[in-house]
Symmetry: C2
Subunit: 352 residues, 2 copies
């Protein structure tokens, strides 16, 4: 069985690379980042300031990404748009529009659909997005595909490939919180009122659009961040993506990782806060690098969200490309961090 | 149970209409046509001739749109991109790029996936499109969502809403041929060599990109067609879409409809050629209207594809909006044509 990255490699070699020699001039950034970037021609901001158009698409599938008997249609609708739009945040883009391709069983076309749309409409209002197209089908399970579009000042999109040795590594918010919420649901603990609040990061991710735009240098003469991605797959996997795209390695410090706080009352469930933070996906925070010279510009808190420095970028290591991250524990002991974040082809089933 | 158009109506009222009062200036055409149009800012053609960006998305689902034990992965891959790109043809746009959201069982990630990609790559080369992004997941069935983008000269996109009383109605190619091919497969007749050729329109639709661009006036000082759509749902449904969007009704003549020729050797299967042509979907031909004054510009054959005049646009009729098409038979007898084309929520199962 192939892993997700092997499958992507197949698709790339069959479809994308074929055209590599003739990458069209209008395409600033193709496949392989959080989103694609079309060169300097979108004028949502009006006037002569043509911006780059940023496009991404994301599938959100019943029994793979959510369970209809556990997740409310409202939460599913909100999250479907939020997680797709998080890719625009990772590029530093301002979201503008989306398309919804929706398939569902006939039995869900009544109140369930109405509530799904309600949740999605709330997300659209919050992010300032307009629905511009879509497609509907009948299907045995609920299938959503969300295509999102936004804009960023010409040439300013944040990519995964700009990290350089010496750059500092930062992450926004708390890591592992979404995975903890998911685990509570999978263990049937989500009906207990005292843990309701712990479900929020899983049910309603707080995507970082404002931070993304600031990092892309919306208000500066140049970008703050040298590279960025969102923490959708888990820190170990997402940081590996940045390292591989940038041709560098990284060192992070366990003691500095803003790992989710697991309440003592959950002690008997043996959650490991650091493991959740390193490998739990779906936090939809931003992971980014900043050149040392610009370190002082990064605040401790950005509009209410904490920003934490967790390590630094190193020169590329020789050897296996999957071992590019060095993890340093509180005692100074170094280990190699294996990417163990979300891969729907490695995990047989995410939710069961 | 709701029909597909009632579901779209729910989505529209919940998501799209909310923003109707504040339709952003960059959005030339939103939801409700074959594709969305973003105003005059895409420069794939180079130079100062900024073009409109045209975007559409289409789901292609196992057990809904295709069967993996009947359709070859190569044919599925080709058709997934072709049917999505047909929406760009209907807008008169030149295709440029696509994104692929793919979910599939682990068991299909080997040779099956390679052949799927091969078929899709063939379509991409044929249409001149570049893969710019995507998403992969594991799922129990094969799910594809294809987002396509292209460009058309500023303000020239063909819409469904421009038909006016007196306009002539045309269709390209043969209607009902894809449905005949599908029916042969559903009845298990597709393994008989003598009927192999009849399967082609179903397996490998011949989308009309060149015709679409010509109708949008790529080589003229103005557009040839006043309205257009592709015949994806079936003539009765697709022409109803044009009538509803344009606020008109239509008269078509049975004797003029270029219906598929059913071989005499299939007589005992009682296929009705006219029914196939009126209600069989997936031909991906173009259905378009042309002002009477420009009628002479429409050739009988466009680059090898026959073009047939099938009727004319009339003033809107009062009464039920679903009965907007008058069908005139060879004897001059008039009947009302009910849209009975493809609706995945009306047909319990398309393929079984």
């Amino acid at each position: 069985m192939r892993t997700e990255s092997q499958i992507i490699e197949r698709i790339l070699s069959g479809l994308a690379r074929r055209a590599a020699g003739t990458k069209p001039g209008w395409l600033r950034l193709g496949i392989g980042d959080d989103a694609a970037v079309l060169r300097g021609t979108f004028s949502a901001r009006g006037g002569r300031n043509a911006a780059d158009l940023v496009l991404s698409c994301d599938a959100f599938l019943e029994n793979v990404h959510f369970l209809v008997d556990v997740h409310s249609p409202d939460a599913i609708g909100y999250k479907a748009l939020a997680r797709a739009t998080s890719d625009l945040a990772a590029m530093g883009a301002a979201p503008r529009f989306f398309m919804l391709s929706l398939a569902l069983p006939a039995s869900r076309t009544g109140a369930w659909l109405d509530n799904l749309i309600k949740g999605m409409a709330r997300a659209a209002r919050e992010f300032g997005m307009v629905l511009i197209g879509g497609d509907t089908s009948q299907n045995a399970t609920v299938i959503m595909n969300v295509t999102v579009g936004g804009d960023v000042a010409s040439g300013r999109a944040l990519t995964r490939s700009g990290a350089r040795p010496g750059d500092r590594i930062y992450v926004s918010g708390i890591l592992g919180a979404a995975q903890l919420g998911l685990q509570l649901i999978l263990r049937g603990l989500h009906r207990e009122w005292k843990w309701k609040k712990l479900l929020e990061p899983h049910l309603r991710p707080n995507i970082q659009l404002g931070l993304g735009r600031w990092l892309a240098g919306e208000r500066s003469i140049r970008a703050i961040a040298s590279a960025a991605t969102d923490t959708s797959d888990g820190l170990s996997t997402d940081l590996t993506h940045i390292c591989q795209a940038s041709g560098v390695s990284a060192r992070i410090f366990t003691a500095q990782i803003p790992a989710v706080d697991v309440p003592k009352s959950l002690a008997r469930h043996r959650f490991n806060s650091l493991e959740l933070a390193l490998h739990g996906g779906e936090d939809y925070q931003l992971l980014f690098t900043v050149p040392a010279a610009q370190e002082r510009q990064v605040p401790k808190v950005f509009r209410g969200t904490q920003i934490t420095k967790i390590g630094e970028i190193l020169r590329a290591k020789s050897g296996r490309s999957s071992h590019v991250i060095e993890l340093v524990d509180a005692a100074g002991k170094k280990t190699s961090l294996t990417p163990k974040g979300w891969d729907s082809f490695r995990t047989t089933s995410h939710k069961q």
